[in-house]
């Protein structure tokens, strides 16, 4: 990220911030989509995050931390968006993702469906940690620093998320009662 551009944006330069938005937009959408698993809600979260970041930019002290700081704002916007969606989404059936997928020779469609079901059952705060850790590749201390939560919180959320995903996969592997030998 261009630090000078960030500093100009902090000082109130709207054009500079527009440049930052353009640079950060795709990455933000990628993160938000992976947390929310819904393109339209992800776009809404990104839009809210971009506006909130502009509002809060004067409070950013270290321009070098812009990316992590912006990610935190996005994650919070995802929490709000997920909470908003939950109210009217509770009885809706989860539909499979209809987005183009990258080629992935090591993952089967079955694995993906199982993981998808398990992931969608996770609380949003656990999803966020999973995405930051496994998608962005951030270490647990980096996540804790970026989200301004204790490292213990990151560890426990990641642990429970992993447990949840494991359970989702392995539950599907267990034989049903009809399949069990008598």
């Amino acid at each position: 990220m261009d630090v000078l551009l960030v500093e100009r944006a902090i000082a109130g330069d709207e054009e500079a911030y527009a440049g930052l938005m353009a640079m950060a937009g795709d990455r933000l959408l990628a993160i938000a989509y992976r947390i929310l698993r819904d393109l339209h809600r992800a776009e809404d979260a990104v839009q809210v995050a971009l506006v909130n970041a502009w509002r809060d930019l004067p409070t950013l002290r270290d321009a070098d931390r812009f990316e992590a700081w912006l990610t935190r704002i996005l994650v919070r916007a995802c929490y709000v968006e997920a909470d908003r969606g939950r109210r009217w989404n509770a009885n809706m059936r989860v539909l499979p993702i209809d987005l183009p997928e990258t080629s992935d020779p090591t993952s089967t469609v079955v694995d993906r469906d199982r993981l998808d079901r398990g992931f969608r059952r996770l609380p949003t705060d656990q999803r966020a940690i999973v995405v930051l850790h496994h998608y962005l590749g951030w270490s647990q201390p980096e996540i804790a620093r970026a989200l301004e939560v204790p490292i213990g919180t990151v560890k426990s959320r990641l642990f429970y998320a992993t447990q949840g995903l494991r359970a989702a996969i392995e539950a599907d592997d267990r034989p049903t009662s009809a399949e069990r030998p008598a």
Partner: protein, 406 residues
Amino acid sequence: MTTDSDLDRQIQDYLQSGPAELSDRVLWAARAQLKTTQRRRARLAWLTPWRNISMSQSTRLLLTAGGALALVVAIGAGLLGGTGNRDTGHSASASPLASSGSPAIPSPSTASSAPQSSAFPIPTYPAQSAAPLTSAWETAGGPATRLGIPEMAPDGRIWAASCTDNAFRILTPGGQLAETWGPPVGDAHHFNFTLPNGECNGAIAFAPDSGFWVLDFGNFRVVRFDKDRKYLGSWGRFGSGQGEFSHANDIGVDTVGSVFVADEGRHEIQVFTSDGVYVRSVAAGHGGSFLSTNGEGWVDTSLLPDGRPGLTEYKPDGSYQGGIDMPDLIPRPLGITHDGLGNLYVVGLTLADEPGAMVRFKSPPGGTQDVWNAGGIAIAVSSEGDAAYVLQASTETIAKYVIPAP
């Protein structure tokens, strides 16, 4: 059974798929909202080194450094040092009623030689030469004036409590006396800006709608008025309980109407709702004599938590934001105020009680500070930050300085 590494790999694979790019529609929608978005005011970049020190950690540091007694001692000698104070109430003298059978409240004067804690990682601001600043005008001074802390009203006029008649002097930005105002003698709300020991002070804080709260120094209370100067209520009395005052010295109000009262006798800043319901205490145990709130509940005060002179900032929830020592800029920082742009102004005295410097810490973060030779004991600034009104210690006057643009 799926191994941990297999599961991690599957999760990473699963997370690879997703949308490629953000729609221009979202970017344009966000951009359209920028112009109507009210930006937050900046916090002060120079306080960063303290960001991660919590109140409890700081308190532990204090106690480790010298115990509870040292805390009281350090507080006493910190801001004002107990030397050469004028009698305007901005002093470290004993609580006026403490020696006459009133509630015993620890007095700053119990400490004349304070050990200085070295446990606090408080940064020291580097020395910087002060630029000359010539006053545009100065009120007629002398002992007869005896003024309290000046404050600028939303209409641009400057109010300062006068101890000679317990009323406010209201000055135009041009320095003319526009009016003298206060409830008349005999009225239940008549102010008293002088303590029995002769200390003089009074302060006022304005809401954006021109309603205001008066720190009625000698009556140990806060009196609230609406914009038409109609009495709305009052609270407070001498004491150590919630909502009581020992040596209240300064008052501020934020944009939601929370009222902040700095009490150098109680060593804390009490926060109230606009009608006087006690909310909480900030800087309990080490509150300074002067305060300024930036309007959003952030509070700055001119005393470090270890009792030394300096600047400390507290978050809206009352926890520490940070502190800074400025021995080479202002040895004894006193008056503090914000302009409407978020810049912070501090004035103070030298150790010899001479006018020190006026420092402007510019917003947004990362900005530098300006230093001018325009010190004093209290300050008000215009909302645009282009004029400062400084109460001078030695001459009992208010001087106006035109401030260069940042």
